[in-house]
Every structure is written in C-alpha cells, then in structure tokens.
Amino acid sequence: MNIFYHLGRFLTLLGSGFTRPENLRMYWKETLRQMDDIGVGSVIIVALIAIFMGAVAALQFAYQLSGQLIPLYYIGYIVRDLAIIESAPTITCLVLAGKVGSNMAAEIGGMRQKEHIDAMEIMGVNTASYLIIPKLIAAVIVIPLLVTIAACVAMVGGYLAVVPTGYLADVDYLRGLTAFFVPYNVFIMYVKSTTFAFLLTAVSCYQGYYVTGGSVELGKASTNAVVISNILILFSDYLIAVLLTGY
C-alpha cells in the first residue's frame, strides 16, 4: 500500500538530517539533554522490569528442571544468557519504545502543530537534523547502557528468586552465572540494543515530524510510534538472531 511512500519519506528525512550541524555546541547541549531524559528518566522502570524478568526466568527454569538430571546450578547460567541474549535488549527496548518513543513522537509532533518547526526552519535551522540527530545519538549511547543495567539487574532478580527461598545455594547460583561464558553473546546484546535504539528513535521522530491536524492525530502518531517500533524491534530481533547465531 503506501508503505513505500512512508519508507521513502522516512529515508529522505534521515538523509537530510545527516548533515554538518549548524552549531556543534547547540547539538551537544541538546544531546546531553536527551541523554538525561532517556537515561535518568528510564533507569528505575528498566531496573524494575529487569528484576522481575530475572526472577521469573529463574523460577520457571527451576520448575522445568526439577526432577531432571540437569544440575541445578544451570539456573544461573540460563538466567544470565537469557538476559544477555534476548530478554534484556528486547524487553527493555519494547518498554522504552512505549516510554521514550511515544514521548519523542509527542514532543516533535507538538512542535510541528504549534509551528515551532516552521519557526526554526525560517530561522535557517535544519530541523530534520537538530530535532532528530541529538535524539538518535543519545539513544544509541544511553539505551545500550540501560540494557547493560537490565542484564545485570536480571541476574540479581534471578538470585533473589531462588537463593533466599532456599531452593539453591548462593555458591551454586554464582557458579551458574560464571559457567560457559561466551563473550560473543555480549556482542549480540550490544548489536541488538543499538539497533533497537536506532529503530525506536528514528520511527518515533518520523511519526512526530510529519504530524498534521490536531490532538487526535498527535495521539495517533504517538501510538503509531510505539506499535511500529515494537513490530520493527521484534522483526529485527529475529533477523539479528538468524544472522549472528547462524541458525
């Protein structure tokens, strides 16, 4: 349908964004503001989700493994790799699409509707660049950091779920956490989180930048930002899994 229209306009917008900034200091200031917004504003929700992510994974594997010949310390190993390879990047970014993405779409869309974007354009500002590039840079730096935090917190969550309850001794859990460690998996985590960060920011900015009409359209743009980001995140998650694991 008009998917090619959107894709074309999306790529054009990004293309016209990647130019030499009018003033590096203004861009840097805006990037710092965005980093603060995305990072500091999201760390609590990300940690909260990660702790449950790890706890549930630990409990469910404990349940699945019970009565089998697999050693129990495997719980730590599974919690770790599940978090690193899949749940930390993917779930964190799905949540961030809802929090950060909808926020970006609403912010830029509001600026479009209130003619702030026109006002900047008339001053001579390249708005495709000034309003989008700092957000992209901030997201691509901060979101992988958040994902790192999520992965670590998930391991703590797993610990809290099985150790204090007496199901598993802490040495066993820690033994699992350090067993069969493959650094390449961390690489996969960063590839995923950087890709997802880029996607959710670019899609959300695009949705906001071309808002027309009124508050109903602004709401729709914000929703679209989340829905489309989520679909693209899951799709690229699959793609990266295929490409980087070779299965």
């Binding site: 016209s16 003033n23 200091r25 209130k114 003619e115 354009e121 008339i122 001579g124």
Partner: protein, 253 residues
Amino acid sequence: MIRAENIRKSFGETEVLKGITHTFESGKCNLIIGRSGAGKTVMLKILVGLFQPTSGNVWYNDTNVSSLTKKELRQIRMQVGMLFQGSALFDSMTVEENIRFPLDMFTSKTLKEKKNRVNEVLERVQLEGVNKKYPSETSGGMQKRIGIARSIVMEPKYLFCDEPNSGLDPKTALLIDELIADITYENNITTVINTHDMNSVMGIGDNIALLHLGKLVWTGNKKEVMESDDELLQAFIFASPFLQRLRDAAIAK
C-alpha cells in the same frame, strides 16, 4: 524587494492561488488583505518558502528562491524573520532563550554580547525585564512582541507577519502595527503582512494587495483605498453597515 511571479498553488484538485504577480517593496509595509480563505496564509508561506508553489517564481532581489536547494535556502533565511499568527514561541524556553536561540545557533558571539542584543530588542519592543519569564506566563499581546523581538534579533532584511494583530484589543493591535512599521522604516526591511484588520490597512498600508478567491484583484496604497471604486475592495473594506454609513456620510459631505 520581493517579487512574486505568476504564483499558482493547488492542494489536490483545488487551486488556491491562481497566478499571482506582485512586487513587495523594501522599506515599506506590504499588506496582503482578503477575506478568510482568500489564500493569504498560503501566499505568505510560499513567499517565505514553507510551501513550494505549484508553478511560478519568488525573487528576493536578484535571487530566485524557488530554484534554490534547501541548503542555499537556509543561507537566505539568515536574512528572514517571521512572526507567526500563534507567535510560535518555544514554550519550554524562557523569553530570553527564545530570542537568543537564533544567536546561539548561528553566531559566535559571547554570552554577554548575546544577552546585550536580547535586551536591545526587548527594549525595542518595549518589554524590558521579562527575560526570565516563560511564554505561558505572558499575555497574548506580549507574546506577539516577544515574537517580533525574536524575528528581528538577527537584523533581517525580510520580515513576514501572519495576522500580527488578530486576537488583540484595538489599542494593542495599533501598537503592534506601529512597532512593525517603525522597525520596517528604521531598517529598510521588506515587510509583508497578512491582515484583515481595517485599522492596519488604513494605518500602515503602504502597498496593499487584495486577494479574492486566489486572485489578485486590487493593488494600491492606503490613500488609493479611499479613492478607489473597485467593487470587491469596497465590499471588503466597508463590510459592516457601520462603516458603510460612515462612508456614505463622508460622500454626502
């Protein structure tokens, strides 16, 4: 000087501007007047480059702006200021940050120099001391003046105002008009103003273009407005029975 050459603009099937040719002179208040829906805003947005015309050219002195790349257009825009109908002040910045924004972005002045310039233009629009306020903490008339201050902070050669005094009381509206006119004359700016306010037409109408259903139907200055017997102009200017009675009384004398 800005020259529009045979400007046409269509949105889908409907043609909103039907071939407009007109010269906007420097050092003058050039008014675009017309009924609601006549195409004033669309015309202004084409002049300033926010809309591309379907056909026709816009010249700023010797530069054909319609044929410029986006990058070249941005260079020209350093010389352009615009006052939006809704003022379009950035609401998360203070008044000072708003006015300073173009300076921050495009000049290498020190903070002190920039602050001085901000105070200069705030003084020019008679709004000293509001630097630290947010736009939402000021009145509509003040926002218009802050908008003017922001649009002249870079010393533009071209100034565009979309209905600068709509939504203001008559006295404040008059002040805004005078302010824009004075700034225009002081700095020899080419100023283009959209309005359907009769006081503006009679007060600062140095060069008036009447649009009607997307066509340019009359041009002249404020003196010629009174002398003209153009039906569309008369119908537009003397729209209310009150004004019609005044005119008839004047003629009877």
